[in-house]
Symmetry: C2
Subunit: 334 residues, 2 copies
């Protein structure tokens, strides 16, 4: 049975007090350079690692941030996680993950449980909870950063892209390429789809095209979901020549559905994705999509949560990220 090396062990060996060791390892002042060196040498000699549990108990920080993620299996989410993780890890933060499968109940529980775990901050990467549901956590003293949903309140801040404008650009691009009957494949629920609708309809209306409800299909956010929705869409609207989707996964499913129905992509149907996951440039045909820089998102989210931890009284406005249309084969009609 191995016994853990504690701060007291180090203190004893170095011939100083507990507190002095603490001062040394935490870079606090009130300690002379000489003693600091001596202590630090002892620390590495004895292989001492402070216990995060004890630190969390005694101090105010657990050096842990919670991350709630809708589905880690979604490559767009995974990329953001990875980047956020790397930054956090570099600053000795632990990342505590909760995979919620986009379920509202689970997500609410996840927020509560993470706060109860004394995380220093919380990042939410899932389009499930709405502003009101989030607002109830304003009074817990745990800063929250929400990704992809604009909200800013006490202790709550966000990193967003302009989904509405992006979707509008996509539809305008498709109309510019001569498409007049454009379908929308999006997720179930209202929450983040509303921006999606918004952009879609703005573009349609501006162009004076008919705003037809049968051109919209909703499904779960997976390849299978995109596949099913597209099947329905094309059955109801055989004259449809383009589809814009909620994300790349649904787009990949859409391509599959088109192929099964004998509708060539892009010659018979153009498909537009959202996110630019790695597969988008490796599939056949390669996928036109909205590029969101996952690395940038992860970086901003981490920076923001750190700022909020450091200055809890400040209220931060949403950070809006740029997006680009990436045109590839799936919309490139001959």
């Amino acid at each position: 049975m191995k016994k853990r090396t504690t701060i007291d062990d180090v203190a004893r060996e170095a011939g100083v007090s507990r507190q002095t060791v603490s001062r040394a390892i935490n870079g606090m002042d009130g300690i002379s350079p000489n003693t600091r060196d001596r202590v630090m040498e002892m620390v590495s000699e004895m292989g001492y690692q402070p216990s995060r549990l004890a630190r969390g108990m005694a101090g105010s920080s657990t050096q842990t941030i919670g991350l709630i993620i809708g589905n880690i299996t979604n490559p767009a989410h995974a990329e953001i996680f990875q980047c956020l993780y790397n930054l956090a890890d570099a600053e000795h933060y632990n990342v505590l993950l909760r995979n919620t499968n986009y379920e509202k109940e689970l997500e609410l529980k996840a927020v509560q449980s993470l706060i109860a775990e004394n995380v220093d901050g919380l990042v939410i990467l899932s389009p499930t909870l709405d502003s009101e549901e989030l607002a109830q956590f304003s009074d817990e003293d745990c800063p929250i950063v929400v990704i992809h949903r604009a909200i800013s309140a006490k202790n709550i801040s966000s990193i967003v892209t302009d989904t509405s404008r992006a979707t509008k650009s996509v539809v305008e691009y498709l109309m510019g390429s001569g498409h007049e009957c454009i379908g929308l494949v999006t997720r179930t629920g209202e929450l983040s789809t509303i921006r999606h609708f918004e952009g879609y309809q703005q573009a349609i209306v501006m162009r004076g095209l008919p705003n037809c409800p049968s051109l919209i299909e909703q499904e779960e956010i997976t390849m299978r979901g995109g596949y099913l929705a597209t099947h329905r869409l094309l059955k109801q609207n055989p004259n449809l020549t383009a589809i814009t989707t909620y994300n790349d996964l649904m787009a990949l499913g859409a391509i599959k559905a088109c192929q099964e129905l004998g509708r060539h992509v892009p010659d018979s149907v153009a498909i537009f994705g959202y996110n630019d996951i790695p597969f988008a440039s490796f599939c056949t045909p390669t996928l036109s999509t909205i590029r969101i820089d996952g690395e940038e998102v992860g970086k901003r989210a981490f920076q923001r949560i750190k700022e909020m931890i450091a200055r809890p009284e400040v209220e931060f406005p949403p950070a809006v990220l740029d997006i680009d249309l990436v045109i590839r084969e799936s919309t490139n009609r001959q």
Copy 2:
């Protein structure tokens, strides 16, 4: 400043002692049904949640398992994580993730840091560390389950598939379809590739075909890696008609490379993957691959780590999982 509800608060309100509350919430005996009910009612009324930090400090378990993962961006890994996570979460375990990018140094540090965090157990999902490197952790009293590498020692156990046999089956299948010049695209490093080589060569030799080193290319485990390796492979061996790969990601890259080089898949080159990630059945052409049930892997890993936590003295033999060949379009020559 919100104050946390502690076990003492509950005890006071319920008119019992701390320890009695502890007995109630932990389902220990030495408490009458009446008091238990009364305490539990008070617990939910006050919204009391025990502090994992304090539990970890005071008790022997932190209810946390560590998971080291090579690259969470790899869908095969993500699936296993998700399943393991779900099971762990259902039993109130936290999962502490470390993403190591397959780097040996990071991975060794990750193991040490997780042990220092007092995790109850550790699961390693990465083909990076070899048996000797792992063996040094036998003496820490923290059970370790290694996925995809056969090893069993004190405190160390594993969940594996027979990569060698699987690869052999693939090559035999390809030869059975008339292929005589078969390339191998695998990862850099020796560790898990050795089983890959083994199966490949066994099949080749049994058939009496020449064992040509130029038919093997190594790269990083990504689509891009598979893409680059395949480019080199086809340049050096234009007469090659089939490629078997380390995993589906590399296979997807291989398909891309073939398309760029004007080699039709499967008519000119057949491609075989490994893992059966969701994209394998949604890409074009759909990918023939080895099916590994990620859900089963995650389940076994979690069950095993729980067994090891419960009975630290027992040494478990590797659990070997079944695999299947899944034949799809990418090897289906007309």
